[in-house]
Symmetry: C2
Subunit: 101 residues, 2 copies
């Protein structure tokens, strides 16, 4: 046996929890919603709209990036953020199964 299949908490539980954690703040929900509606956006757009400091926004974007839900493309001097399609779809799949949708 190469993997421990006895474990109660699986990688799937951890992955789903990780995605849920990324979604566990209203600001990040807003950003994801925004991106799932409109192709992409610049973080400057978000700074203008959202009632938080740009450094705070940066942290939220970082959290979304590290969870794999978004990705940034440099368009100097801006950065264009989009959903990470692949992982977004994976997250959807996980939630769909989990929620029995």
């Amino acid at each position: 046996m190469t993997t421990d299949n006895q474990k109660v908490i699986t990688e799937d539980h951890k992955k789903l929890a990780r995605y849920a954690k990324a979604m566990s703040h209203p600001i990040r929900i807003y950003i994801l919603e925004h991106l799932s509606k409109q192709a992409c956006c610049y973080s400057g757009d978000l700074t203008d709209i959202l009632p938080i400091a740009k450094s705070t926004l940066s942290q939220h974007l970082k959290e979304l990036r590290s969870a794999g839900l978004i990705q940034g493309e440099i368009e100097t001097p801006k950065i264009k953020y989009c959903l990470n399609k692949e992982n977004w779809e994976e997250a959807k799949k996980y939630f769909k199964l989990f929620l029995n949708l």
Copy 2:
């Protein structure tokens, strides 16, 4: 205007984030998954299965309860936990809309 409709972050964003936060830990994912499969369970059952102290389990159950996703019914000396059907359905609805499922 009685409510502030200018606000970028709405109650819906907050509610969804709140549900996501409840789901943001593998143990809690496991518990929810367990309950969505098998009607109900006793926290003792979970203590036996899960690799955490019962006090820690209690905290996770509390978090799920305070998010409204589960409810406990006393069957002395045990407590029977079930999904809170109403809120679980609401959460599903929110995620469904949000994820465009």
